[in-house]
């Protein structure tokens, strides 16, 4: 992907399949867009570039889901949270590899990537978070 891939959710997940956490950055005003959007929502410019994010952050909030939709029932109960990567840049995702009793607001987490994807639409790879 040496030329500029489109600033879409699908491209974001294509990067995830390559184990990379990428966001769009506006060349005009410097706003970082996560999730990426085709146009900067601060200054409305379409002059954007892809930047790679480090993938570490702190847990802003969490929950443990016991009642899940059918496709996630085999995983329940599972933890999900919102992770702040940098000020104002947040992503939600599952939190794996931690005892649910030990989840705490503020704990440090890092992103990891699942090797497999589901065959169902939209067939994106998933990322998740785990303790550092």
């Amino acid at each position: 992907m040496s030329e500029k891939p489109p600033f879409t959710v699908s491209t974001f997940y294509k990067f995830v399949s390559e184990k990379r956490l990428m966001a769009a950055k506006c060349n005009e005003c410097g706003t970082v867009l996560l999730p990426p959007k085709p146009m900067c929502t601060k200054c409305l410019s379409t002059n954007l570039k892809w930047i790679e994010l480090e993938g570490t952050g702190k847990l802003v909030s969490y929950t443990v889901i016991h009642i899940a939709p059918e496709q996630f029932q085999s995983l329940a109960p599972y933890a999900v949270g919102i992770i702040e990567l940098k000020k104002g840049l947040r992503l939600p995702g599952m939190i794996c590899g931690v005892d649910h009793e030990k989840l705490r607001v503020g704990m440090k987490l890092k992103i990891d990537f699942e090797p497999l994807t589901s065959s169902k639409w939209p067939a994106w790879h998933r990322y998740f978070f785990k303790p550092i």
Partner: protein
């Protein structure tokens, strides 16, 4: 100073809320419409009602979209223009606002606004999946985050930032269950205790079964008229004096804060400003308690108390029937039930009853100013309406 009416409510109707086997959504809507017609004998619906705006969240439940003309047909309103408004759980709040626009535009003088959802014939897993469609697909649904999960994320943040407790959330459920026992149309008709709520099954920690609103079948409507002609239809109209609506990011994770719904704050400010009233002037409110934490956040977002003080307000009894500002006398979404598309105008129905002295055992004595607060999804939509009696 209280400002002049935008529109006037001349009648309102509500179906029974509950598990209504064998009834299709359109038939529930007839129950609501018929009550509204019967309440207002001076109105000839076939002649006078000029348009229908209905809230309906999901065609998945009944495999039925195109809800506007479907309901117009069953309610005897053909060939009047009819359309559906979809804003998740705020769909009929949006329909109400659209009805106001229709009258203020000068195009229509009398319109019906309402909403419907038929949900209970589906399994909990199916309903969980359908409701989740109102959240962000690529980053929330795709990672297994459910609707209770989103409000649980808000609850965890509120507990962390302000020290709000699970017991304070349980008290919201206890209050609203009590109010529901006073409302014959409420889905639940049973008192619960704080202990029972705290001991119920975990859905998405820290939210338990009794922190969650109900999967319910139901329909609701109100009939709006231009204020200049409202008295032609009824001696006791209720006036809508403020309407506010705002949007926020579809993804909870993109919002500035997890402990407040910015869209609700903005919608409230707009409605208060338009109405010329302040939070302290409100005598009765119906707020969107889809989860108990949502009612505590509504107290804060609507200015009934300061940020982080919602837990205190439920503890000191202010929002109970008999308190200074009763909230959700109908039982709310928690006990009356939450047929999502019907909720916004079901709130307007309750305020109409309260401000016309027809709320029977749950009547808030002397109520003059009412407020409804309807939230879509995890807060990407919020609409607030303010009402006063004639």
């Amino acid at each position: 100073m209280i400002n002049k009416p935008l529109v006037s409510i001349v009648s309102a109707g509500l179906s029974k809320f509950g598990r209504l086997d064998g009834m299709y959504g359109r038939e529930l809507f007839v129950d609501a419409a018929k009550e509204a017609f019967d309440r207002c004998p001076n109105l000839n619906p076939i002649k006078d009602v000029e348009a229908l705006f209905v809230g309906h969240m999901g065609e998945s439940y009944e495999h039925q979209g195109h809800t506007g003309p479907t309901l117009a047909d069953w309610a005897g309103l053909l060939p009047k223009p009819a359309m559906r408004l979809e804003s998740a759980c705020a769909s009929s709040g949006a329909a109400l606002r659209t009805g106001i626009f229709a009258i203020l535009s000068g195009i229509h003088k009398v319109v019906m606004v309402g909403g419907v959802e038929k949900m209970t014939h589906r399994t909990t897993a199916e309903v969980t999946e359908f409701l989740a469609m109102a959240s962000d697909m690529p980053f929330e649904q795709w990672h297994g985050i459910t609707f209770p999960g989103l409000y649980a994320l808000m609850a965890t943040a509120h507990m962390h930032e302000y020290g709000t407790t699970e017991e304070q959330m349980a008290r919201v459920a206890v209050k609203n269950h009590h109010n529901g026992t006073l409302n014959p149309k409420a889905h639940m008709q049973k008192e619960i205790t704080v202990e029972k709520a705290l001991g119920s099954k975990v859905i998405a920690w820290p939210l338990k079964l009794y922190d969650c609103s109900l999967i319910t079948d139901g329909a609701s409507c109100v009939i709006l008229a231009h204020p200049d002609i409202a008295k032609k239809f009824t001696d006791s109209p209720v006036h809508v004096i403020g309407s506010g609506q705002a949007s926020d990011a579809i993804g909870l994770y993109e919002r500035e804060k997890l402990t407040t719904l910015k869209a609700a704050r903005l919608a409230g400010q707009e409605a208060y400003g338009m109405a010329g009233v302040e939070p302290k002037d409100v005598d009765v409110a119906e707020v969107h308690d889809c989860f108990t934490i949502a009612e505590l956040m509504a107290y804060e977002d609507l200015g009934f108390c300061g940020s982080g003080k919602g837990g205190n307000l439920i503890e000191d009894g202010t929002t109970e029937l008999g308190g200074d500002l009763p909230v959700n006398p109908s039982g709310g979404l928690k006990s009356k039930g939450h047929p999502v598309g019907a909720t916004g105008t079901a709130q307007a129905y309750e305020i109409y009853l309260q401000l016309t002295g027809q709320a029977e055992k749950r009547q808030v004595e002397g109520a003059e100013v009412g407020l409804s607060h309807n939230v879509g999804g995890s807060g990407a939509t919020a609409s607030v309406h303010i009402y006063r009696r004639d």
